[in-house]
């Protein structure tokens, strides 16, 4: 149990934290406030109240396509990340693999290299290989950035799972598969689900990889918002952004329920 803040420290730190929370929430709150403005311009203060911009956004063909495409891309990328990340997390925690620290470092390395550079490097590779399908190229790029998140979260879950239960089951004669299915997986399932949700959002939100690999037809959501924010000044952009914020907060609540936010972040 950590000591509670008292006296002068409490008087100093609570207001500072409150100020930091205002700083963190301010841009999101402003975007949401602007999205219900009746004015035709995204200017402060918002005038009147209208949900018209949401209607306009939801009816927009570009928005619908980007939303569906980003959702599908994120779902496929998450599946790929689980396929690569789950076994790798087991290798890191349950087997005496030689050079385990090096393996962990390599598996998490996409988190250290600037994503923008990963994207440029992939663009060059795909160009040289004449791989011209934007969806395929995007999927490979997104699996690359989401896999480390799955590895990190699942590794943390496996380290927290009670290994003596696995030992007991094996002593009682259960085979490797049975132990995995009946003892290990039930224990780590919430962590895996949280990791998968996190990976989904990492892909859904990604800009610095997509900016290189997308083409004129397949435009992921963040790129659509970026382009609209740079070219038009209507509350359609805040409305689209607000939908992104609300979706993200639903997912965050789910992750919090499943595994706890800090544990899902494995930090």
């Amino acid at each position: 149990m950590n000591p509670r803040l008292t006296g002068g420290m409490a008087w100093l730190l609570y207001p500072l934290t409150a100020a930091a929370m205002v700083f963190v929430l301010a841009p999101l709150a402003v975007v949401m406030a602007m999205s219900v403005s009746a004015s035709a311009f995204a200017s402060f203060p918002p005038t009147g109240f209208s949900l018209a911009w949401y209607g306009a956004v939801l009816a927009d063909a570009d928005f619908r396509f980007s939303l569906a495409f980003s959702g599908l891309l994120a779902a496929c990328a998450t599946t790929g990340a689980l396929a690569f990340g789950l076994p790798a997390a087991f290798a890191l925690t349950r087997y005496a693999v030689p050079g385990r620290d090096a393996l962990r470092l390599i598996l998490l390395s996409p988190l250290i290299v600037p994503l923008l550079v990963v994207g440029v490097a992939l663009l060059r590779l795909f160009a040289d290989w004449h791989s011209n399908s934007a969806p395929v190229n995007l999927l490979i790029g997104h699996i690359l950035v989401t896999t480390p998140y799955v590895v990190r979260t699942v590794t943390a879950s496996l380290l927290l799972a009670d290994i003596s239960l696995e030992e007991a089951a094996r002593t009682l004669g259960a085979g490797r598969w049975r132990v995995l299915r009946r003892v290990t997986l039930p224990q780590i399932a919430p962590g895996v689900a949280a990791g998968a949700l996190f990976a989904f959002m990492v892909s859904f939100d990604n800009y610095p990889i997509s900016m290189w690999l997308a083409d004129a037809r397949y435009v992921p959501m963040p790129m659509l918002i970026y382009r609209q924010a740079a070219s038009i000044y209507t509350p359609a952009v805040p409305a689209t952004s607000t939908l992104m914020i609300l979706f993200a907060f639903i997912v965050v609540l789910l992750i919090e329920r499943l595994a706890g936010l800090r544990r899902a972040m494995a930090m």
């Binding site: 500072l16 990963v118 440029v120 590779l125």
Partner: protein, 307 residues
């Protein structure tokens, strides 16, 4: 506490398993790690090596990269004041952002670890949740707040309270990029800090207090030094992520606060100069890797010194 016992347990069991069945377990483990490793080798290592080597080649009129090996792009990059200035600005923005993140993040991390569980939960939620909102959306929010006209939120506030009589230039500046980056990467400072603060043995501070140390000295002599590893990790993360960003400088810095990421985009997309783009990308990666290695050495050194 729990982390150390948890990590030593699998080690112990896997050791015992190794003694029982040496080759099979190792082979299964390798087999499980192999697909991910192969994927990373093909789509991260190979492209990275090719990109770095592109920086030492020349592009002919057909856009094909050919020899001989040359360092002229590096000479061009470091020798042209326009480019070295962008490098300098990138380093300055990343450094200032990381420092401000430490100042702003420290109180948040303390509250996260040492307040009523309900308060800690809310603070954790507010800190982490925006991380899952796209950088584009969050930066767009800052565009609305920092807008240069009288309709930007801050300018509207300043004008309507009479603090200024003409709109202030806030957007498209280095300060705006620092504010945006701080917002985007603050959680990367708070989380490692909170985890370091959470690991401090309560008895140490208790002992210092019992010996008559005032609260601020307990913090200065006990808590703060023990939180330094977390601070180092957070600083490294925020610095590296800021240095490699594109969206924030593009949306908040414009042409006044270009960073290396924007320069790479320009060279590849607009100028189509692959060798030079690859050179800038290599410089960026070199900076990030150097900072990470330095921080790892620093942390290892500290660990060895305290052990």
């Amino acid at each position: 506490m729990t982390a150390t016992t948890a990590s030593s347990q699998p080690l112990r069991t896997s050791l015992s398993r190794m003694v029982r069945k040496p080759s099979t377990a190792t082979m299964v483990g390798l087999g499980l790690g192999l697909p991910a490793l192969a994927f990373l080798a093909v789509f991260l290592l190979v492209p990275a090596v090719r990109l770095v080597s592109a920086g030492f080649l020349t592009q002919n009129a057909q856009g094909v990269l050919t020899g001989p090996v040359t360092v002229e792009h590096y000479v061009h990059f470091f020798g042209t004041s326009l480019y070295s200035h962008v490098l300098f600005v990138t380093l300055r923005i990343s450094l200032v952002t990381a420092a401000l993140a430490a100042v702003l993040g420290y109180p948040v991390a303390m509250v996260m670890v040492r307040s009523h569980p309900a308060v800690a939960r809310v603070v954790t939620f507010i800190t982490i949740a925006p991380l899952i909102v796209s950088v584009v959306v969050r930066t767009y929010g800052w565009q609305l707040i920092l807008g240069n006209g009288p309709t930007g939120l801050l300018n509207w506030l300043l004008l309507s309270t009479g603090l200024t009589h003409a709109p202030v230039r806030l957007l498209y500046s280095e300060a705006a990029v620092v504010i945006g980056s701080l917002h985007v990467f603050l959680p990367m400072m708070v989380l490692p800090l909170a985890s370091a603060l959470g690991k401090i043995e309560p008895h140490l501070e208790e002992a210092a207090r019992t010996l008559g140390m005032p609260a601020w000295r307990v913090f200065h002599r006990v808590t703060f030094p023990l939180s330094l590893p977390g601070l180092a990790v957070g600083f490294t993360l925020v610095f590296s992520l800021t240095a490699g960003s594109f969206v924030t400088p593009a949306m908040l810095g414009g042409t006044n606060a270009q960073m290396l990421g924007n320069l790479i985009d320009q060279q590849i997309t607009a100028v189509y100069d692959w060798p030079f783009g690859a050179t800038i990308a290599s410089v960026l990666v070199a900076i990030v890797v150097t900072v990470n290695l330095l921080s790892m050495r620093l942390l290892d050194g500290k660990r060895r010194a305290t052990a």
